[in-house]
Symmetry: C2
Amino acid sequence: MLTFAVEKTDSLARLGRMELPHGTVHTPCFMPVGTQGSVKTLTPAEAADSGAEIIVCNTYHLYLRPGHKRVRAAGGLAKFIGWNRPILTDSGGFQVYSLAALTRVTDEGAEFQSHVDGSRHLFTPELVVEIQEALGSDIAMCLDECPPYPVSRPVAEAAAARTSLWAERCSRARQAQTNLFGIVQGATYADLRESSAKSLTELDLPGYAIGGLCLGEPSKVTYDMVGRVALVLPVDRPRYLMGAGYPEDIIAAVRLGVDMFDCVLPTRNGRTGTAFVSSGRVAIRNSRHADDLGALDPQCDCYTCRNFTRAYLRHLFVVGEALGPKLLTLHNVRFYQRLMQGIRTAIEQGALESWSSEFLDRYRSSAEPAGEENGR
Amino acid sequence: MLTFAVEKTDSLARLGRMELPHGTVHTPCFMPVGTQGSVKTLTPAEAADSGAEIIVCNTYHLYLRPGHKRVRAAGGLAKFIGWNRPILTDSGGFQVYSLAALTRVTDEGAEFQSHVDGSRHLFTPELVVEIQEALGSDIAMCLDECPPYPVSRPVAEAAAARTSLWAERCSRARQAQTNLFGIVQGATYADLRESSAKSLTELDLPGYAIGGLCLGEPSKVTYDMVGRVALVLPVDRPRYLMGAGYPEDIIAAVRLGVDMFDCVLPTRNGRTGTAFVSSGRVAIRNSRHADDLGALDPQCDCYTCRNFTRAYLRHLFVVGEALGPKLLTLHNVRFYQRLMQGIRTAIEQGALESWSSEFLDRYRSSAEPAGEENGR
């Protein structure tokens, strides 16, 4: 139910093509985040128009509301949310640790209290697979234990071991057609990362993710971990770096052999007033834009850049109109798709190194101070 | 700069065509409200796709932010907000009384404190015309004094007299090409309404509005006032009932000879979870919709009704996704345009009475309790 072909390489970077039940995904790809079944502020038509071929939804959120059985009864998640393309569902492990209260993790699973109504739940590897199968996810993720950064070696070691144990149980529990990805843990310890990747590889899963990074550690450390793990993972399976969102991080990880990305940055920053543009980042509320009759990004072909001035976009944010966050999100999501298209074309042409330098030189030319956060 | 032709009548109802600088408007028409330069949650393309040919923006709000001079420098309001169709701007009189603090009204004008930053301003009839000319409004409204409901006769009389005085000053102040509408006041006193309408008519303005109604008075009173005023106003000028928003009120007023309507109901109710559908009103958060895989309104051709179930729309509202308010707004705005299209076709066919009965029988068949408000 998942086929992946590497069609071209440029040094370690890979141009790939992934076939999934709901359609084709060209890699390296960026997956906009639609946690609760909506890429925030966008209609599915707008998300598709951006060029996104796959989005990420969240098992934890959808299990709590509206409930996976309700989604199954509605014909699966893609049909329920009106997105006729592939969906990857994160397992919810990360959200259990970051959002839920009173989490208690044992080898059995993660017990937590809902952030919505305080009810108690137990996520086992088996249940998490069952939920994602009810959702009809094109790609399901194993339940993992994702420690925060920084974390001690013993804690990281235990979490990686438990993640491997759970991956095995997930793999046993899944139906044959379920495309299950394992998640490499090991925090910032190179040997733990490598052994985690090796142990998951033995499960012969259709794809592998690198979790537990992009949590505040220095970029150098992120890249070091990613590079080491990528060398261990099988070359014929897609590799997904979870939560990596800055353009510079995506470019670096692609050059280390990563194929898939997701992050809340384009949507969250769009909602809060920061746009990603060719020349860097723009804080649209800044008064310098009050009379700026130019486009947000003159290089961009999105609806926002084709139709509105920075002055109008700033006005919308200043007065609190919902259209402001929406138009910036629309642009940011398109920006990321154009970034990935640029990367794919560069790999195709064997020119990723020079393309990356040019992109980053321009991108770093006029970044404004902005208050965005990283985050998976 | 405004031509208006009544093309057909059906009893007192009129099918008309209004030519304005930014385009044609078929009447009776409903104008979605875009107070601050945005029909809330919708892109201009979506507002246009609904069939709306004209929207209403607000002088008070746009004067405060972003400022009319800034809008003029950007090429006028239509260009600034990316709406390539006619715009009517309300004068801001109503907002000065309802939103601003410490309003002091004299014959000179209305002095008020901004609800944004507390700064003090004086709206004179001349300034309000100047602002609307800077905005490049297709239709500008006179400054009026709009008393609340209920109000004593002496207060109503003074407000109507001052409104006439101000209308004369507005008319003298305007440039030749400015399409200025007078506003009939007089609260719920029939003779005051009639004399207000007569005195404004003497100014020979291109159109007339009926203000100060739909403020909580019984419908019977509203209709009585509208009917009396409509008989006084010149037959060859468009008539605009300000703030009338319930479908039943619009139908009743059309049948009394009104041509133009605006109201925040479709947008405000959409944002807060109430949809207008063929069979009445739907409170989408209601748990009865949790597993409803039917369309919001099976009779409707909007994007929302073509692509999503009530179950998904409810989910979006329950979890607080911005897409929910947007999809319901999109539907409601389209519902109102379909209502007006139905009215126009019925007048064309000389069948407004029977069409109205059928529409209202269906519309009243299954209204759910909902918490919407009226409001200009």
